[in-house]
């Protein structure tokens, strides 16, 4: 058996081609980051037997979901050369508003309201960035404040409790033994990946981030598609907020507080350039994985919180350093 496998030049050829194809789909950064990720997992497996268990993987999936769904949108925005600092407060205001509607009118209207408001906030940001041509950094920094304020004002700063029991479905249901939220994440990721790689919209997004002027002259509706990425992000923030608050059974007005830099970090660690046009969702997936596993591992190890910050910082810098070292080795 073994002999035939290695003996057949055809097969080897075939495998090589497959390998090349894989390489062509992923860029070098993504490969290096995957290596960094595997290294991290290895270290954790050696340090604690608790890491590599099914149960822990369930935890990891949950922990990756909230940031993960948001980071999909953030990737699109960054690919156009933009940035969204307001993802956390966008999630919070949508969840809070939806929750209030839900208390009045039931689960379905509540969920619809949640998703609509999240998208609407995204649309407004998109409008200001793409049509009014304001700096994305400033617009979304403004919305970071405004969204949080609005959330506090909706309930006078209180958590919203007493949501319908049925609402808990979204965060807790399982299909087979696969949690619903994981399926939602995979489906959303898959759709976004498909959009970016296989549809015109994806091509436009890269084109806008890479050379807006050229895209415009080629007839791409630059403003529309730029705004679209913010709208999608708004929608995804609402989905994220939906899943989280459903699982928590209450809407905390501080939902998603201080996640803005993490959401960007996940994207940038994955090799997407803040200047736009370069990178993609696979990288973001790895970025999310690294951030999630790192936090989980440090908790499992019981590392003091004062040390955790240092560990996170070092691992983040080290993982990009690895990429840079490998690139320099290759070039000499």
């Amino acid at each position: 058996m073994k002999e035939t496998m290695y003996g057949s030049p055809n097969l080897i050829q075939k495998w090589k081609e497959k390998g090349n194809k894989l390489l062509s789909y992923t860029s070098q950064v993504e490969i290096v980051m995957t290596i960094a990720f595997i290294l991290l997992c290895l270290v954790l497996t050696i340090l604690t037997p608790r890491f590599l268990t099914i149960r822990n993987f369930r935890n990891l999936f949950w922990q990756a979901t909230f940031l993960g769904i948001i980071a999909i949108g953030q990737t699109l925005v960054i690919l156009t050369g933009g940035i969204d600092l307001s993802v956390g407060s966008n999630a919070a205001v949508a969840a809070m508003f939806g929750g209030i509607v839900m208390q009045q009118f039931g689960v379905i209207p509540g969920v619809v309201a949640m998703l609509l408001l999240g998208t609407l906030v995204g649309v407004i940001k998109g409008f200001l960035v793409a049509y009014a041509r304001l700096a994305a950094f400033i617009v979304t920094l403004g919305f970071l404040s405004i969204g949080r304020s609005a959330t506090y004002l909706l309930t006078d700063g209180r958590s919203l409790v007493g949501l319908p029991e049925a609402y808990r479905f979204f965060g807790n249901a399982e299909i087979g033994s696969v949690p619903l939220y994981l399926i939602v994440f995979i489906v959303l990721f898959g759709m976004a990946y498909f959009m970016l790689k296989q549809t015109k919209v994806g091509l436009y997004i890269y084109a806008i981030g890479s050379n807006e002027e050229a895209a415009h002259l080629s007839g791409v509706r630059v403003r529309f598609y730029t705004a679209l990425t913010y709208a999608i992000t708004g929608f995804l923030c609402a989905v994220s907020g939906l899943i989280l608050t459903s699982r928590l059974g209450a809407v905390d007005p501080d939902t998603g507080i201080n996640i803005e830099l993490n959401a960007i970090a996940a994207v940038v660690i994955g090799g997407t350039s803040l200047a736009g046009g370069k990178g993609g969702l696979l990288g973001t997936l790895i970025g999310i994985a690294i951030i999630t596993v790192l936090n989980n591992g440090l908790n499992l190890l019981g590392v003091s919180p004062f040390w955790q910050g240092a560990a996170v910082g070092v691992v983040i810098i080290f993982s990009v350093l690895l990429d840079s070292i490998i690139r320099q080795l290759k070039s000499t």
Partner: protein, 313 residues
């Protein structure tokens, strides 16, 4: 505080303390109280601190990880009473006992709830402030507050307790500024702004210790402590020294975080040994004033800020 341990599997017992933010001195002191009591046992009990970074989602993730790690019990100071139920559910599913230390929960099952009375403490501080202002003939003056987040129950309690005392005394409350960073620098600036905004300001209530000290600096800086009576909530040795000095901060209602930590651990330990702890333990606040400061100093040293005293030596 290098409480690393490779696994929770050794014969010792591991208890996790889930804190909203370990770098906030109050929670650090609760953590210290828990550790003091654990050390007293002389047995192998490991305490792990876990920092929720003031974020309900992080808190839930940390608890998942802690349960995964195999802790024997969880003492939690929730980020918010609404964020606690899911934690309680997770723990219940694995049969892990939970003691709630401060803040509280909206629902769910737990072993014991240790709380200090924010409303009452703030009310007492307010009463004392009113008394001073009357004595100095400032009863027509305005008072302002530098508050902790009003998105939290304890914040709303402190505000409400204080304002109740002011209403009773007929004193006008003009302004409330809410902290975002909880640093001295922030409250220093807030105090400046309050003084600039209200010419008739004669009273100030600061709702956490960094605010006490920031306001203290600002008032000292301008010499305005002579015209403004200042009371606070919570405290540290610096606060106590200022109270002792006689003309700076007049009083502070101090929670007893170390005591709360001790009580929390005691309740947990009782439960782990098959006893039934009290379901609700109310830890009183101490109103430290110029008059009683010398009497209560020992109590403060034990229950409020032993570690700070240790650090200053």
């Amino acid at each position: 505080a290098g409480e690393q341990e490779a696994t929770g599997d050794s014969e010792g017992i591991t208890i996790a303390y889930v804190t909203p933010a370990l770098h906030v001195p109050f929670w650090k002191n609760v953590s210290d109280g828990i550790k003091q009591e654990a050390e007293k046992l002389g047995q192998k009990v490991t305490i792990i601190d876990s920092d929720s970074e003031l974020n309900a989602a992080t808190q839930l993730q940390n608890v998942q990880d802690l349960i995964q790690r195999g802790v024997d019990g969880i003492i939690i100071s929730p980020t918010d009473s609404a964020s606690c139920p899911p934690v309680l559910e997770l723990a219940k599913a694995d049969g892990i006992p939970v003691v709630i230390s401060d803040i509280g929960t909206d629902s769910g099952e737990y072993v014991s709830f240790i709380i200090s009375d924010n409303f009452e403490g703030a009310y007492q501080a307010g009463e004392y402030l009113a008394r001073i202002m009357k004595k100095k003939g400032w009863e027509n003056g305005d008072v302002a507050q530098i508050a902790i987040s009003q998105a939290r129950q304890n914040g709303r309690d402190r505000t409400a307790g204080f304002e109740k005392a002011m209403t009773e005394a007929g004193i006008n409350v003009v302004n409330l500024l809410q902290c975002n960073q909880y640093t001295r620098g922030e409250s220093f600036n807030f105090t400046q702004d309050l003084m600039a905004a209200h010419e008739n300001l004669h009273g100030l209530f600061t709702q956490h210790d960094e605010a006490n000290l920031g306001a203290l600096s600002a008032l000292e800086n301008t010499g305005d402590y002579k015209n403004i009576a200042h009371v606070g909530f919570d405290g540290s040795p610096e606060t106590v020294e200022a109270i002792k000095s006689g003309d700076r901060i007049a009083a502070a209602s101090m929670q007893q975080p170390v005591l709360m930590g001790r009580e929390s651990f005691k309740a947990m330990w009782k439960y782990l040994n098959g006893e039934t702890p009290e379901e609700r333990v109310l830890v009183p606040t101490i109103l430290v004033t110029r008059e009683n400061v010398l009497d209560v100093e020992d109590q403060l040293a034990d229950n409020v800020f032993p570690a700070e005293l240790e650090a200053q030596k």
